[in-house]
Symmetry: C2
Amino acid sequence: MIIRHSPAAPRHDPQGFFRYGRIVEHPESVERYHILLAAAANAGEVREAVDHGLAPIAAVHDPNYLELLRTGFARAPDKVEEVVPTQFAPWTPHRRPEGLAGQLGYHMTDTSTPLRAGTWDAVYGAAQAAISAADDIFIHSVAYALCRPPGHHASAAHAGGFCYLNNAAIAAERLRASMPRVAILDIDVHHGNGTQAIFYDRNDILFVSVHAETASYFPYFTGYADEIGVGAGEGFTQNLPLPLGSGDDAYCSALAIGIERILAFAPDALVVSLGFDAAAEDPIGAFTVSERGFVRAAEIIANAAMPTVLIQEGGYPSKALGQRLLRFLQHFDAMRPDA
Amino acid sequence: MIIRHSPAAPRHDPQGFFRYGRIVEHPESVERYHILLAAAANAGEVREAVDHGLAPIAAVHDPNYLELLRTGFARAPDKVEEVVPTQFAPWTPHRRPEGLAGQLGYHMTDTSTPLRAGTWDAVYGAAQAAISAADDIFIHSVAYALCRPPGHHASAAHAGGFCYLNNAAIAAERLRASMPRVAILDIDVHHGNGTQAIFYDRNDILFVSVHAETASYFPYFTGYADEIGVGAGEGFTQNLPLPLGSGDDAYCSALAIGIERILAFAPDALVVSLGFDAAAEDPIGAFTVSERGFVRAAEIIANAAMPTVLIQEGGYPSKALGQRLLRFLQHFDAMRPDA
């Protein structure tokens, strides 16, 4: 399997974030990149991302938002380690402010997505890894992109939940440029709210998400089963929320239902938002999926026998993280009918 | 002049808040109450707020929001000093979560409004001071409510900008129950975004706000001159934004324009959102209004000769804060044509 990554990933090095009144250690750490790269290297051929420029990113994201991500840190009035929002745009009518502090609040939904000196390089690199992996599947059928920071909580114009650019959405749009239908399956423990928002009114990109119920769990405000899309997109979003604490059986059953919906859609390619934070060992997860559960998940998805781009989403440092990725990739390769 | 206050005010004692990456000292401190009460006591007759119950508050605020303010702190899973949101509801379609963390983000727009053990008592007391002062003007024509915490950034269902209950809106609605038309004049340096949102579609309560331009200044997302109301409320909101750094002349000229609009509306009573953070000495303000400027402001408003409730909004501890309030109240009393 081709493994795409960007050596710029470590340049985004958040140290802490404001969580319910305290500044805590940021789980989306540089360490994740090293753990995941070392593991993936045992499952395939590691290649650096090719730089395809801004166009495939701008196909998904708002230009003002991209400008803020690219230049926001440099606009800080004082010498600071990072800029991060304090105030957030309300849902009442409002407009985009001119100053940095207001723009951060306009384009972010929480306090976990600081802009630091190397943030743009890292998020740009992660998006290029996703684009490169999408291109790889035309030849190799399957590829894995080690995207860090992750992307599925980022919408067209909003960062949030450690995410800046929606790598899975960018990969799906890249594929969509050469094929009529693309499906996205999001198996991260958190609802892929950004991806859902991006494609909510479209019928050419199906979005299916298996995740922990959001009534009391991040990202809190969306992810319910009755969110099915709007307009032309009605019926092209499927949420499969599961109770907190769900394990292998519930997770794999929901995945199987999601794959069934995807097969009915008959996409030309599949993008998987591959989080490992459903793992029992995950420090911030809410499920109890075991290594065996992830192996079954790999088998269920591989059996769909579609050209597939695997996009790294969440999954936070624990003793098990590297092993979860390695086993998933190995089994995914082994289980594919054309392997 | 009758001075209304609540002795519960010091029970809300925020210690710090998250501002652009760091936890800083909270400017909306208990000290404000003591400074303002000592100053007001020299300008009138101090009386405790009468408890009018929840009904006049519920006339303005969403019941779910009130429930969160009242019970949110007690719902904290661990022993904590305060609960405060981390994630905020986006403007894309979303729904109200069940858990505490999500509900905090659903009902708040920034990180400055923690719920602490005594927060509900203090915000409830501030609202009762506003209601009591509104009732006072039927007999005494003018009254001042020392509301702490302040209120004009709170909308029907959102806390933000140090504000929880919109004391000025509650006072205006209280008056409106006995009279056809009420005007609100907001002279705090910050746009009264919460008050604007509450009355934006109504033509029975006119809202006029003089404030620093919001393109690069809190509250960032509203406050422009072309926001004039919607539906039946079109033409019943007037924003008079002024450049950062404005002084006495600009401030008083804008006030005079606002008073002209209010006189044309011919209200039965006036509510003033009285902030002193336009003062040159204010630690977080953006104007350079002098003591002389506030005296002129008092004169301009007093000359309108309307039954008037003065509601304390912002204005943060400095050597000048108490003196600004005292001189304003004294001149307001002295300048009234019926005085």
